[in-house]
């Protein structure tokens, strides 16, 4: 099970839940599992978050592998000027 | 859309005739650096432009027994480059140098600066402090007016619509005279004066101030002549307490507004500072002119 941590800006959509363990193989599966568990999160995943997997930041990488022992953190998506 | 006419008369008479011709909304075009912006923004919609740059009297500089007759449409860069004008009237040229960029000064004129009647016009306090007189031509002939009396309020002058500002007379200077103009702007260049101060003074043989004129810009609806500030200098050595009295009198004369360029409080305070600093420069110049 990968350990998923939500950045605090997402807590309101999970009823305050900050982290959980999920059995998912990639980012897309993780988004689906999260959205199923917390419907309010739905609109805030694909376009609003970047995903940190084992320390590396990924943006728009739905098929990026998540290993069984991965540490995953959801953070706001980053852009710039 | 009404059509805009353009005329470039070669004589003053022809220009006056165009202005006298009737009911058209006419504008005099000299450097155009204010007028073209106003036209573009729709704030000026003239039906006739009278370009006066082809009229010799408006575009020449001549010396008349120590005095200078300066055409109202001489571009600033030409005034700056004049070999003697800046030596005699450095304070007037200080102001001219601060009108916009080199590019703008390539076109802009003192006549336009005065007739546009911005309270912040940079060349006007220097002219007022110099006691310059403006020569005006109209349908009923010529008249001469002190520059201080020409600008009436923001965008308004004492010129009649059919009159043309022809030239400025910068009087002959007594020995030991110096003048200076300083302005405050947040940037070094390319700004409109938040406050401007011109000081023109003459020293007696002992180095005391025998005559002075002080003018402030951007602190009222028009550039002000401030006799109280000048009085603070006369009889003094333009030092210490006299400079403080000058600063206080300058600040006291201000009646500015709060706007995007500066607050009322700031303008009042800094007007005194600018007057004091301009006086110090004028003093230095007067001593050198010894």
């Amino acid at each position: 099970m990968a350990r998923i941590t939500l950045a605090s800006h997402l807590f309101p959509y999970t009823g305050g839940v900050r982290g959980l363990e999920l059995d998912v193989a990639n980012v897309r599966q993780m988004f689906a599992a999260l959205a199923e568990r917390y419907p309010d999160l739905q609109g805030h995943l694909e376009n609003e978050v970047a995903v940190v997997i084992d320390g590396e930041v990924y943006q728009d990488a739905l098929l990026q592998t998540i290993a069984a022992d991965s540490e995953v953190i959801l953070i706001p998506k980053i852009a710039g000027g | 859309m009404s059509e805009m006419r353009y005329e470039a008369p070669r004589t003053l008479e022809a220009a006056l005739a165009l202005l006298a011709a009737g009911n058209v909304k006419a504008k005099i075009l000299a450097g155009g650096t204010d007028l073209l912006i106003q036209m573009r923004a729709g704030r000026a919609e003239p039906e006739l432009l009278v370009d006066v740059k082809g009229i010799p009297e408006l575009t020449s500089i001549s010396e008349e027994g120590g005095a200078y007759r300066v055409g109202a449409a001489v571009p600033c860069m030409q005034l700056i480059e004049h070999p003697r004008l800046a030596m005699t009237w450095p304070g007037v040229i200080d102001g001219v140098k601060l009108i916009g960029s080199i590019q703008v000064k390539g076109r802009a004129t003192m006549g336009g600066n005065l007739c546009n009647a911005s309270p912040a016009a940079d060349s006007v306090p220097g002219l007022i402090a110099a006691n310059a007189r403006a020569s005006i031509a109209g349908p009923r002939g010529r008249r001469e007016v002190a520059v201080a009396e020409l600008a009436v309020g923001p965008g308004r002058t004492a010129l009649a619509p059919e009159e043309i500002l022809v030239s400025f007379l910068l009087p002959r200077r007594p020995p030991r005279s110096g003048d200076a103009y300083l302005r405050f702007t947040p940037r070094t260049e390319m700004d409109i004066a938040v406050v401007g101060a011109a000081v023109n003074l003459t020293l007696d043989a002992q180095g005391a101030c025998s005559e002075a004129r002080v003018s402030l810009g951007a602190v009222a609806e028009r550039a002000l002549l401030v006799p109280e500030a000048a009085a603070a200098l006369v009889g003094s050595r333009v030092e210490g307490a006299a400079l403080e009295r000058l600063a206080a009198a300058a600040s006291a004369a201000c009646r500015p507004i709060d706007d995007k360029r500066g607050t009322r409080e700031f303008r009042i305070k800094v007007a005194g500072v600018m007057a004091r600093r301009a006086a110090a420069i004028a003093l230095e110049r007067a001593r050198r002119a010894g």
Partner: protein
């Protein structure tokens, strides 16, 4: 050929040198064509009617008189564009919402700011178009407006969006609010952190919106045929995102819009989003004539950009030894007329430079009656860092600790846990601080009355979707098609250099071309300092793909196994120790016979670049403060920054210098000034005071190179960090000179004079 794009430390021929930029001669001779330089036969001129009100309901729009004017060919209003539902998409800064995009380009129910488009006309001349605007009758019901962010947050403030409920709070609020969103980041226990502190400092800061100030106003030319094919020439940082946005708001297929990104006259984040483009297309669709729309400078100020103004509160605690125990921030950011400010990024950047245990940052995204904000170079970070680095300076001074030492005591390094999520990878903050401390500027004597300040900044840098194609010409010269617009930093040069390095050929054999979106797969906007990092990554991947194909072709031609062919020094040659001999083939030799040996050769990259390396910068500034006028003069300025690797050091220096001077302008004089009527007072370069050449000294630069392990040449990106530290560095320098701390930007003469006066008064 390694498939890895990880950093390799290897000898370099071209990367790191200073060749001339490929776009240079065009730019010094006037040939370079910017958007307003394009013209088509029969083109019409388009002009926009803009709201004179800050906030009003549109009761009706009557365009009949305008349409009747000779020369006027078409008018468009809200009725010509479909309404769009809430739908999010990525754009330069944050996600955009198409419901808002379609309302920002043309007001629907209400106008929400002075300058908001209400109608657009196309006419045969500029004067006819202007005259037509005056004939459009708009019936407005003027509504109360709100400009200030704190006022907008109050209950009972005029509401911009009646259906906007603050997101990010639970339970969902019962009342609508101008606060569009609340975000929060937490690490550790903030209260415990303050309890552990020997010194706690709390201060409030206010900043005004500032504009990107690119010298080229937005301009575009659109041509739509009778069968709905569109060509669009426009000044943009992202031809693909412009195409996508235009297609969405006009309900067209992206493939039917061909966008040519013209030479761009500056963007800095301000050209990430569409403004007039869909209006020009709609007008051309009505008239089937090309329509050219060029904004005036006044329109640029009233209706594009700027970045947020903000009200922020920073509270920090540290031990007497200078170790930070707690860092707290509340950031209230104006987003303009529609939600979506840079507050999330500002929140993440506020304290990320430091290794902290206890952090709490709350941000609010607040709608006000101003133009919708756009990204501006490290969006948001300069604002929150102004506060944080000012408080850090104050802590260091109170404790008598050197400000660089104070930062070193707390500096983030590899493995530091950030409060927004990831642990930091290989970074060069400590190296940069140490270089700053050792710099002669830092120890130079300072004349009495003058002040010195330091500050530092962090920016993430980004990768994202990037595609590139490398075509090998029949003579062996190479064309690189890049989809990341060269926003002027010199990325065409940098990419040509990396490609030449990869292929082993001279740089002048590589011609970089910014391609239109029909030539390549999707490219995200050039933003987030991604041009040379991500675009460069795609160029390298495409070059390596081409090399692989060149090897295969050489093996085929020479009839040797693929493994026997190595690519070295621009040639296919026998691999070391492979035991096979053959005559080497240069790239040109392969190219010459390519057509007859299987077809021409091209390399491709269609990737989503990950692995951006954060950048850190440290600035040192000396100032003189005129105590009688409040005028601050910048005497000396030094920028030090870890850029990973400077592909072209001169262009990196240009980024560091340009960013610093924009930051100086922001610090000292730039601001949007609104009247009580909600109308912008200074929409021009005369009264919106960007620095001129005589306002600034030489900007000294020190390039620090701690390679990004995730880029083949170690590139991090460098464009954004340099605008972050100036505001706080200058505030710290003013404090050092006068003992007075400025917490309001701009630190313009009236403010500085007032602060000095107040301090003197308090001292009496």
């Amino acid at each position: 050929m390694s498939a890895s794009t990880k950093y390799e430390d290897k000898p370099l021929r071209i990367v790191g040198t200073r060749p001339l930029r490929p776009d240079g001669v065009d730019k010094v001779t006037g040939r370079a064509r910017y958007a307003a330089d394009y013209n088509l036969p029969g083109q019409l001129i388009g002009k926009v009617l803009r709201s004179p009100h800050a906030h009003a309901r549109i009761r009706s729009i009557d365009v009949s008189a305008a349409l009747a004017l000779p020369g006027v060919k078409a008018v468009v209003t809200r009725d010509d564009f479909p309404d769009m539902p809430v739908e999010y998409a990525a754009a330069g800064e944050l996600t955009i919402n198409y419901r808002d995009v379609t309302r920002n380009m043309m007001a629907r129910e209400k106008v929400l700011y002075d300058g908001h488009p209400v109608a657009a006309v196309a006419a045969t001349s500029e004067s006819a178009a202007r005259a037509a605007l005056k004939l459009i009758k708009v019936d407005y019901e003027v509504l109360p407006h709100v400009i200030d962010v704190r006022e907008a947050m109050q209950p009972g403030a005029p509401l911009l969006h009646e259906e906007q409920y603050t997101a990010g709070v639970s339970p969902r609020p019962g009342q609508p609010s101008n606060i569009a969103k609340r975000i929060e980041f937490k690490l550790g226990d903030i209260e415990a952190g303050f309890r552990a502190a020997d010194l706690v400092i709390e201060r409030e800061f206010n900043t005004k919106p500032v504009h990107q100030g690119y010298i080229e106003p937005q301009a575009c030319l659109a041509s739509c045929t009778e069968d709905g094919q569109v060509e669009l020439w426009t000044s943009t940082q992202g031809a693909f995102t412009y195409r996508e946005q235009c297609a969405r708001v006009l309900q067209m297929d992206v493939s039917r819009i061909r966008v040519t990104p013209t030479e761009i006259g500056g963007g800095f984040g301000g050209k990430n989003n569409i403004y007039s483009e869909p209006l020009a297309i709609a007008l051309s669709r009505k008239t089937h004539r090309p329509v050219k729309m060029v904004m005036t400078r006044e329109e640029v100020f009233r209706a594009t950009g700027p970045t947020s103004g903000a009200n922020i509160r920073i509270k920090m605690g540290c031990t007497r030894n200078g170790r930070i125990t707690a860092a707290q921030a509340v950031l209230n950011f104006q987003s303009g007329a529609f939600p979506g400010s840079s507050v999330p990024m500002a929140a993440m950047c506020t304290f990320t430079r430091y290794d902290l245990e206890n952090v709490h940052v709350v941000g609010h995204d607040v709608t006000v009656n101003r133009p919708k904000v756009a990204a501006y170079r490290a969006p948001g970070a300069p604002i929150s860092v102004f506060g944080a680095e000012s408080v850090i300076d104050e802590m260091a001074k109170k404790l008598g600790i050197d400000p660089i030492d104070f930062r070193l005591k707390n500096a983030a390094t590899q493995g530091t846990q950030t409060y927004y999520g990831p642990k930091l990878g290989v970074i060069g903050y400590i190296e940069t601080l140490e270089r700053a401390k050792a710099h002669p500027h830092y120890s130079a004597p300072l004349a009495p009355g003058r002040g010195r300040g330091v500050s530092s900044g962090f920016w993430f840098n980004i990768g994202n979707e990037t595609c590139s194609t490398l075509n090998i010409g029949e003579d062996g010269s190479v064309t690189l098609l890049m989809g990341t617009v060269d926003v002027a930093g010199g990325s065409r040069a940098a990419m040509a250099m990396m490609v030449a390095e990869e292929l082993g050929i001279p740089m002048d054999k590589v011609k970089p071309v910014v391609a239109d979106p029909s030539a390549l797969g999707f490219n995200f906007v050039t933003a987030g300092s991604r041009g040379t990092f991500a675009g460069g990554m795609a160029a390298v991947v495409a070059a390596r793909d081409a090399v692989e194909k060149l090897r295969r072709r050489a093996a085929k031609i020479r009839e040797v196994p693929l493994e026997a062919v190595a690519w070295k020094d621009g040639r296919a040659q026998p691999a070391e120790g492979c035991g096979v001999q053959f005559a080497p083939m240069t790239l040109a030799e392969i190219a010459k016979v390519a057509g007859k040996t299987g077809g021409s050769i091209a390399g491709h990259a269609e990737i989503n670049v990950q692995g951006a390396g954060p950048g850190f910068g440290v600035h040192i500034v000396d100032v003189d403060v005129d105590r009688e006028t409040g005028l601050v003069k910048i005497l000396r300025y030094t920028v030090l920054q870890d850029v990973g690797k400077a592909v072209h050091p001169a262009y990196v220096e240009g980024q560091l210098q340009g960013g610093a001077v924009q930051g100086i302008g922001w610090a000292l004089n730039e601001e949007y000034v609104y009247g009580a009527d909600g109308v912008l007072q200074n929409p021009g370069f005369l009264d919106y005071r960007v620095p001129v050449a005589s306002d600034v000294p030489s900007i000294d630069t020190v390039i620090v190179e701690v390679p990004n392990p995730n880029h083949p040449y170690g590139v991090r990106g460098c464009g954004e960090v340099p605008i972050i530290p100036p505001m706080s560095a200058i505030a710290n320098a003013i404090e050092s000179a006068t003992g007075v701390r400025l917490c309001d930007q701009p630190m313009s003469p009236p403010r500085v004079l007032q602060a000095i006066g107040k301090a003197a008064g308090a001292g009496n």
